[in-house]
Amino acid sequence: MSHLSDIKLKIWRQAGPDQGGRFESYLIPSISDEASFLEMLDVLNEQLINEGREAVVFDHDCREGICGTCSLMIDGQAHGPQRGTATCQLHMRKFQSGAEIVIEPWRASAFPIIKDLMVDRAAFDRIVESGGFITAETGGAPDANLIPIPKPVADASMDAAACIGCGACVAACPNGAANLFTAAKVAHLSLLPQGQPERYKRVEAMVETMDEYFGSCTNHGECEAACPKEISIDVIALMHQDYRKAKFANRKTLSRS
């Protein structure tokens, strides 16, 4: 274990949703290289409280890369410089002594800033509420082994289902689009046999809800690079295909009314 010294931080501070914000500079004199990035912010906050100043507000929870609560634009990259890693799993050993690190909240009109680095990602919930489910009310399910699912299909579904809903795709997208998030959800459910009855209804509802909040996909691929679960933009193609099929589908024989 060694230490990094003189980490300079430029952090966005904003008192509330409708207030103006600005970057403020802070100095961390010394930090263990075993510390995680968020632990470094803990140290900063402890420092600020000791000085009688208000701690920096940032979203975080499980700190093991699965809950998707943490965010942060670190040096211009969503979740920072390490590929396939959420901010909470980023460690200070990736940085050098004397480094200046710029931390900004995620910016998208659908993710309004709540305070400092914390944003509201409720728009994702609205997308799921519109159709991101398989209607299976409690109690009526058939035996779990009734429908065999080929392993590659289950695996492909799981690849998409790994999405943690952090919003890095939106943050990284130059257009503020949520196609990767929405498509991951669509792919997770629509690849499975259980998801077929609502396949077209689901994709239509989710895409149209997504449209109310987010920008459009112009196929930059930034989302895939920022995704802590490295979900492939292939799922976006799948969603685009399904949406087209949904619009042209025979409404009576498919799930759409």
């Binding site: 211009g76 919930d125 519109s130 257009n175 149209e208 920008g215 459009s216 193609a237």
Partner: protein, 262 residues
């Protein structure tokens, strides 16, 4: 029980409604529209339009380039080719009719492409009303994908000029009214002998190439043409397509300036 008031959906406490709960978000029924308009109403639908009109224009650009290669066969060949275009499907269709149908189709594709691009741009601007205040460090987004609007506008301006130059002859006359659009070979040589024109032509075609480099790949994603069997070829296709079109088109002014044609 002592008290009487039953719990209600709207709380009696005004503060409870200050930041109320979320419910019924999927209940709103939208108005039914004609399905193509409905499709075009969403960003994903607009991207289909971008892709399909893109394909149409890609076909045109490629055919246009191949047709113009005739200039290397000599004046007669290319002028004859131009003549042939006016008599497509002749005598089934009267002279010029098929050509005008194709022109109308192309113009329609271009207008749709522009409208979709414009509305998506507006949508994307609104989706990030407040920009990042620090520098972004892009990972995958390349020069081509990030300059689609710029290269697109460049190509659009070029198309306007190109039509003025070779179709209407506005910028390609030596004196009063002596432009003859049927004298294709002469028109080309006369135009490209002007160095600034050639430079503009070359730059515009490079912009077209950059536009195609991203656009031709992007089509597959936008239309959802995705399969592990051919995914690896998508990038190669786009690169090759852009390269062929650019090399072909750029060769014309170069050939004129180098004296190979003329």
């Amino acid at each position: 029980m002592a008290d009487t008031q039953a719990p209600t959906i709207t709380s009696a406490n005004p503060a409870a409604n200050r930041r109320g709960p979320v419910t019924g978000t999927a209940a709103a029924k939208k108005r039914k529209k004609f399905f193509l308009l409905d499709l075009y109403g969403t960003a994903v639908g607009k991207k289909y339009v971008m892709a399909l009109t893109g394909i149409a224009m890609m076909g045109f650009v490629l055919a246009h380039m191949i047709g113009n290669l005739k200039m290397y066969l000599g004046e007669e060949d290319i002028n004859h080719y131009a003549e042939f275009l006016t008599r497509l499907a002749y005598p089934l269709a009267p002279e010029n009719v098929v050509l005008w149908i194709m022109r109308a189709g192309l113009l329609g594709a271009l207008l749709l492409h522009l409208h979709a691009a414009y509305s998506l741009t507006v949508m994307n601007r609104q989706a990030r009303a407040v920009k990042y205040q620090s520098a972004r460090d892009y990972q995958i987004a390349n020069f081509a994908s990030r300059t689609m609007r710029l290269t697109g506008i460049t190509v659009l301006l070029f198309i306007v000029w190109h039509l003025l130059d070779f179709t209407f002859g506005v910028t390609n006359t030596l004196g009063d009214g002596d432009f003859d659009k049927h004298q294709v070979y002469d028109n080309i040589v006369r135009s490209f002998e002007r160095v600034p024109v050639s430079v503009f032509y070359i730059l515009a075609n490079l912009a077209l190439g950059v536009h195609l480099y991203h656009g031709a790949w992007s089509i597959f994603q936008s239309l959802g043409w995705n399969s592990p069997r051919f995914n690896q070829w998508r990038r190669m296709f786009a690169t090759a397509f852009a390269a062929i079109v650019v090399v072909g088109n750029v060769s014309f002014p170069v050939a004129v300036l180098a004296g190979i044609v003329g």
